[in-house]
Amino acid sequence: MESIFSLVLAKANYAAYIILMMIGLYAMIAKNNLIKKIVGMSIFQTAVILFYVSIGCKKGATIPILRHHGHPEPVGHAAENAGAHAMDAAHGAEKVVAHAVDAAHNAVHVADYINPLPHVLMLTAIVVGVATLGVALALAIRVYNTYGTLEEDEINQQLRSG
């Protein structure tokens, strides 16, 4: 019981995103009304965002904003290093390890904070979503102005007959 429960919990987000995605996809493929399709598209995109956000989750961690007081202390040290990072951080993975030791006194524990990268990516995705939505609605309005309807079958009928 316990294991099934934890399994469901462990994968619940993924299941939810798949269901949502399929709802959106279904609406885009099978719905007849253009606005409905657009709604489906929005759901579809948001589902992927849910997926990404779920990737970023980390048990026992908090939001990705550092707890701090005033200015960062090791500024001087960092200032020297900032350029260096930029130049030779190609071996990012090794550096991370090196810095993990190095930065112990920084009191920033990786385990304390949620992975911020997916969040950043998803900000972009949300914006892309609203941009697409805007363009899609603009097109839908134009379609309506031309055919006087938003139902695809009626439009096709008009196209066939005229």
Binding site: T46, V53, C57, A61, V127, V130, L137
Partner: protein, 81 residues
């Protein structure tokens, strides 16, 4: 991250999404999409993605819904499915 809350929100999200594509009124669909977005934003806030949640709250639940309503206003509310 309280998993009970999250689970409930996820279920509500799915219900909203389902309703949004099932309801036979486009204005309702637009508003349900807004509700969906807002619930989604709650879910993300619970998961700790505060920035994403903030953005979704303003963009998804706010402006997107207004756009949808504006488009429905200029076309029609009627739909067959």
């Amino acid at each position: 991250m309280i998993w009970q809350v999250e689970l409930i929100i996820l279920i509500l999200i799915i219900i909203c999404a389902f309703a949004a594509i099932k309801v036979r009124d486009l204005l309702s669909a637009a508003l349900l999409l807004g509700a969906y977005s807002f619930l989604m934003c709650l879910a993300w806030a619970v998961m700790g993605a505060v920035d994403v949640a903030f953005t979704e709250a303003t963009v998804g639940a706010g402006v997107s819904t207004v756009f949808c309503v504006a488009a429905v206003f200029h076309t029609t509310r009627r739909t067959k499915d």
